[in-house]
């Protein structure tokens, strides 16, 4: 059911960073689990709407009123292991999104964070 290639794809999609050995054992485990789960394929669900929420009401949107989180930068940015001058620091992002990442991003070039009033 799950071949090496599929497992590699899954590990890549979920950024699990598995070694070859780990991939091999995880593949076997998933195979075994899915074999137990195979029984649901026999259930007749023709015309049965998938149940995504067991909710008692429909949603009530919130009012568009700004409620700032006080001192946000000082309280939140330092929770990250890598930060400087009020920014989160991440490994150099290659121009353009990488495979597996979306493309709906704007990048700003050559900004000098040193100019920011921090």
């Amino acid at each position: 059911m799950i071949d090496t290639e599929l497992l590699e794809r899954l590990a890549g999609l979920s950024r699990l960073g598995l070694s070859e050995k780990e991939q091999a054992s995880l593949r076997k485990e998933l195979e075994s689990i899915l074999a137990h789960f195979q029984s649901i394929q026999e259930v007749d669900t023709e015309g049965v709407e998938p149940l995504t929420h067991v909710l008692m009401d429909s949603g009530e949107p919130a009012a568009d009123v700004v409620a700032p989180f006080d001192d946000a930068r000082a309280r939140l940015v330092p929770l990250s292991a890598n930060h400087r001058e009020g920014f989160f620091v991440v490994p150099r992002v290659v121009e353009g999104p990488q495979p597996g990442a979306s493309a709906d991003h704007t990048t700003v070039h050559d900004a000098d964070p040193g100019d920011e009033d921090i």
Partner: protein, 482 residues
Amino acid sequence: MTADMRWRSVIGLEVHVQLSTASKMFCRCEARFGAPPNTLICPVCTSQPGTLPTLNGEALRLGVLAGLALGCTIDPSTKFDRKNYFYPDLPKGYQISQFDRPLCRDGHFKFSTEEGEPREVNIVRAHLEEDSGKIIHPEGVNFSLVDLNRAGTPLLEIVSGPDLHSPDEAMAYLQELRRTLRYAGVADCDMEKGGFRCDANISIMPVDSDTLGTRTETKNLNSFRFVAGALQAEIERQAAVLESGGTVIQETMAYDPDTGKTSVLRSKEDAHDYRYFPEPDLPEFRVDPAWVAELSAGLPELPRARQTRYAVDLGLNKRDADTLVAEKELGDYFEATLELTKKPKETANWLLTELLRLSNDRKLPIHELNTTPARLAELVNLVASGGVSIQAGRLLATAMEEQPGQSAEQLAQSMDLVQLSDDGALRQIVEQVIESESSVVERYRSGNVGLLNALLGSVMKASRGKANPKAARQLLLDTLDS
């Protein structure tokens, strides 16, 4: 022969528009451009463990309004889905978006080409989603910086059908779309602030064929200039590929405005598997048809309708109608003034000349000038009634802007710009001229009627330009013929 003559291009656009809400889509952080980095963030939009989204009702309202302006169907309920992928500007590791039940679908949107040819595109869907943060690449270092101020601000993604057939058409569609959304009060569509961003799907086929070619997607076109350049470049690239016997591959392209060329960003093998599934943290939301009807009724007149009305009903020339409609504020200003003057052409003229000049000189948007529509109407009416000349009116316009406490008439008086139209003063001047120019009068009376203009000139001169030429002419005729 250019590529456009041998190939027919098929273009569909996906436009991301930032909705004009005060707070973000799923938390109540302020949604604002230009704040210091990471100051408009909270536990929700930084994806702290245990946080949950709450839908901004205004984003929903604006999304519905946009859909109505684009002629879309709005279903009686809507839901959200998660789009899963990793990227440092997406702290949750997924984007809350809408997958199989967009807020708006199946719209029809009309626009005109530069040449005035009417066109229509299908709006396949328009859905709500949250924006990502911003990544900054400082020079000379091996890291990037992330600012999450923008993360979670509301976007509407508007997907057109593959109904556009040239870069020019695509541009005309985008202009009309932008102006329509601004009119509807849905979005500023400020491209410089990333409020209006475009991805383009492009394919080409031989002009005599009706089989669609393989399409590519060109990402992140963040100005009108880039859109035009990227579409042209990609059409030419595809044409060159096909003409050299190659095949176009379905892949994602990036446009480099410096070189004016498109290049491959990633191939189809890297195609995403976003693993969309219903957002379990948000229930379905009712979109009450009665509420939608109410919003529809409250939708302002949209630019295309307004333009047609100006040109057809008000008889303005196309250029003036275009200019007045380009920005909603200008059109609204025009409407308010027109209400008080009932003189469309004169009102348009004064607005588009003097008021725009004042606006430029003072570097103020037109609705922030001292000259309100009511004051402009005073001026238009004063000129139209012959109270002042057109030349005097121009001087008066500047004066009115500088002295907002004074009415047009008061200023005309104090600046001695009032035209002589009434019998008394004007008759006196006319009689003086007839007396002093007796030889000319004699020649006129003996049949040289062309000399009336010479006499009129003398009257104008004697009045130091203040005589109302029309009244003066009539008075001259009356006096000479009596």
